[in-house]
Amino acid sequence: MLRMENVSKIYRTDLVETHALRKVDLHIKSGEFVSVTGPSGSGKTTFLNLAGALETFEEGDYFLDGHNVKGLSDDKLSEIRNQKIGFIFQSFNLLPDLPLFDNVDVPLRYRGMSAKERKERIEHALETVGLASRMQHLPTQLSGGQQQRVAIARAIAGDPLFLLADEPTGNLDSLMAQQVMELLEDINSKGTTIIMVTHDDQLARRAHRNIQIFDGQVSDIEKSVADDVIRSA
């Protein structure tokens, strides 16, 4: 479903070239829950940006659903993000001026769905995260954990190919983090693929599979092995 072949990403400034990702080969299958870990500056965010079509790359190929993403126009990449990927960010990134209902509505509107279908999807998504009763509240009226649940509702409302989560519990206390993690596991158990970047080994271990990035290079470890690695670390 998601396949990277030989993907490299180099950031060039006047003074330095940073090889943020080096020849990454990766395959993630439908329904998986994958965690991505690695030290700070190792390339996790870069990987997430490429996987989420937020940034472009010059080397290698990236197939999403069988289609190569490389070299597509900005508009096409917007469409892919809109239709195939659900984003969950560390700082939630809800739009502060919009009530919850309209926050979840944002990606659906760009998709050009009918008002009726959007309404059904929004209500269903907010029910899934347990916030259907607060649709007309503004984000600032919610706790951090609730805000992240709204972000999750926004990510799943469009039935994307996969969810891309960037430190989804990084800004939450442990109880709320626990709830959000359980919600993600619940969503995954119903068939949605999830890729989660985190530096929290506890959380990483709960995924089916852990991908580690060191200095821009990926080592892909199956769950059984991953557990060993993390335990011995």
């Binding site: 965010t45 997430l48 940006n49 989420g52 937020l54 940034e55 900005d74 508009d75 917007s78 469409e79 993000r81 809109n82 239709q83 984003f87 960010f89 700082s91 990134n93 739009l95 502060p96 001026d97 919009l98 009530p99 309209d102 509505d105 944002v106 990606p107 509107r109 760009y110 998709r111 503004l138 926004r154 960037d166």
Partner: protein, 405 residues
Amino acid sequence: MDIKPIFLGLKQNKFMAMLMIIQIAFTMGVLSSSVLVATTTLQEWNKPSGIPHEDIVRISPEFFDDSQDVGQAMFNDLKRVKEIPSVINAAPSNAVPFTAENMIDVYLATEEDAQGFKTVVFESDEQIIDVLKLSLVDGRLITASDVVKGDIESTPQSAAEVMISQDMAQVLFGDDSAIGKTIWLAKNADPVKVIGVYSNFMTGERLNGRGKSYQSIIRPQVKWSQTQQPHYLMRVEQGTAVALLEDIIDVFYLERGRYINSSELLKRTQKRMYDGRGSRALTFLVLSVVLLIITGLGITGLTAFQVTQKRKQIGTRRALGAKKSDIMRYFLTENSILTLIGLVIGVAVTLSITFELSEQAGQNFFNLSVLLMTALLLWVVNILAVWFPAKRAANIAPAIVTRSA
């Protein structure tokens, strides 16, 4: 893209929205009022003067010798002037076309609430009709025996018969003949009778500004005092006006106790009038352009500020699937909504300003197409003003959502 999210956004940013609306409304009000006044002024530009002003000269004498018989000296002057070969005719007059300032109200009745009609009274002798080359439209011309002449102090009586201009007749009596009708040049004044109607000529800016350029009255009387004398108006052979000003010096040296305060070709008097008018219109238009630029820059600044404040939100929208064009459209639509509200308020302001101005000036400044053009212009300026910050917003990289805290 629908406008609901934009309205929700505005609801949370009421102060900013109000600021934009007020700015647009204010600009629209001032801009369209100025443009309306300026265009109305300029529309009056090439109205005919009704007289051969290229061939008419004004001389204004001033008597300083108290022992001088002013009347005698004046008639001597006029007699000698008429003897100059290039001079066709000359007449004394208290007022001069293009600069007549002594606007009064004329009445058809003497009741307390009788309506007044704006006019300027030219006091002169029977030659004035020929000097200004006016033609007789109705009734008869004034004759030498109609003219009341004398020193102001020793001549309390005034001429009881007058001629009025064609427009004056139209305003006072409509399609009825004006001949034989009675009018009052002030509410408590003696009545005067209309004996003739002459062709229109332009009096000056005070009536031009009211759209009543041609309303005038000629009263056959010449009065003077030691401190106050009529001007001399003279019509000359075509093309000799400039040369006359040279020749006339010799003639005027012949009379003692009097000097020439000023002299002017009426062609130049007319130009002075138009210059003043042009600079007034120009001042309005320049102020409008300056205001328009300030407003444009203000809108650009406010929008740019908004964009900077909302970088993360815009990046989030991009990450969630907004195309660059969607971001552009968001800002342009938001601005259009505010512009529309501002314009509606601005038009209301304009209507009240122009209504007030029209009342004061007695002239209609309102013009729908000018108003719509101004609104359109302001709209275009707004779109230009928002375009560049919106473009910057559209270029915010979606990766900003993961790269900044």
